[in-house]
Subunit: 277 residues, 2 copies
């Protein structure tokens, strides 16, 4: 089910620059009990992305209204928002008048088994490397060929995520998640200045830890450093936090720090939701 | 005018992965006297791109038939071909069954004045830097935010092209062209192993020079080296070869080597066209 510029439709113009050039941004939002979770954070992030890419940002009220309109159609699900620079202009030059295209799509929930959250997942390292691109780093834009090629590397359904390195061999993120690790009483995650997507849940975790007086260290690290971690987890808006129990031959415990963060994230979500009402 | 999977339509499915992720490739082809120019080379390039991105390639005969079908609608124009991984699959994972989407679009000719070809153009250096991404380098894929941001840097209509450097300060290409320069009896162009699009006309020029016993040197160079050139030109399928007469404060002559190549390219095009018949 798609709401395209306010109308229920299944098609967009072939001239839309999202289709022609990947000229746009997106958000993937969990819907729980008919409510889009962390909607304000998703809207703020896509607004920041629009600013960086010079895409005119639609009215926040309109986005909130439409997000709720579609979320009400399903108890639980996934709400995806795409904003593009609209139709027009053959060639890279932005049109003089830009009518931003907005697309909300509602998908069924993914129905991941609870065991993934409780007992952890198996991950692998991807051979596909992320390029270095400070211009686009951090933004959840529509130029996603790197992730598609990385995700195509494996078909074994037991492997739930692929960990991506950049061309310098630094660990950046999962194909669809951000990655954290815990070692010597400190929580670490990757710097996202040259590659990667700064996820909403990554931001929430950084905020939770900062509020508790244990700031997350964003730094540059390699496979070797990651494999020496005590606990590892990946996160995104749909899965929340998944502990990583195994990467290739190396096993990790589902540790108490990861479990604590899972609980804190759940509480934070409830609080955010109440504040939203 | 668009021919989408063989039908005249203006819309594509919102679920098309070209729209969702920029998951596809394109070609921009000149139409002269109702004939798509260098069609075989464009089809070969997009076929090679499909192979690298694991997108099933449609029948060559079908593409040739549709290209001619649309080219006949206009004496001169621009024919654009887009191939995407089709619809399906929320998330980056490729669908199990891929139905490649093919879109041919016909645009009016750009009507550039002859003076650009004869007297040369003014270019500038872009501040937007190209990222480093060996995975995607050379391919004309649909992830084109870098070019869009670079092209947005200027509005002065006297400036016809922006020259892009990568994040290491190496000259790569124009926003919509490849770039060559002539110095000390040698023709140079950029290595495209980490960034850039390997253009069809770039390939033709390399072939013409190689056949004539004067191979083009592909190497890595900076602004300073480029500005010390005797002649500079940019090229693509629509403009052919444009001499560069000025980059910011530095002026260049429209030299005999560039003019010779313009003539050779025209002859090569006539010969290729005859061979096509």
């Amino acid at each position: 089910m798609n709401l395209i510029n306010g109308e229920f439709r299944e098609y967009i113009e072939v001239a839309d620059r999202g289709f022609q050039y990947g000229d746009g941004l997106f958000e993937t939002i969990a819907v729980i009990n008919q409510q889009p979770v962390f909607l304000d954070r998703h809207i703020n992030r896509i607004k920041a992305g629009c600013f960086r890419l010079q895409i005119p940002f639609p009215s926040i009220d309109l986005l909130i209204t439409e997000a709720h309109q579609l979320s009400k159609q399903s108890t639980n699900g996934i709400l995806k928002l795409i904003l593009t620079r609209g139709s027009g202009g053959r060639g890279y030059r932005m049109p003089d008048i830009i009518n931003t295209t907005r697309v909300f799509s509602l998908f069924p929930p993914p129905n991941y088994p609870v065991s993934l959250r409780e007992q952890g997942i198996i991950a692998r390292f991807c051979d596909t490397r992320l390029g270095l691109n400070p211009l686009l780093a951090g933004i959840k834009h529509l130029n996603r060929l790197e992730q598609i090629m990385a995700r195509s590397e494996w078909t074994n359904p037991d492997i739930k995520e692929g960990i991506m390195l950049d061309i310098n061999g630094h660990i950046i993120e999962g194909t669809m998640t951000n990655l954290f690790y815990y070692k010597n009483n400190t929580l670490y995650t990757s710097v996202l200045e040259s590659s990667g997507v700064a996820g909403v849940i990554r931001g929430v975790i950084i905020e939770i830890c900062s509020n508790a007086g244990f700031p997350v260290i964003e730094h540059t690290f390699t496979k070797k450093e990651l494999l020496s971690a005590e606990e590892i987890f990946v996160c995104n808006s749909i899965i929340g936090i998944w502990p990583v129990k195994q990467i290739e031959q190396t096993c990790f415990k589902v540790g108490s720090e990861t479990q604590k963060l899972q609980n804190k994230l759940a509480q934070f979500q409830i609080k955010a939701h109440k504040g939203d009402d």
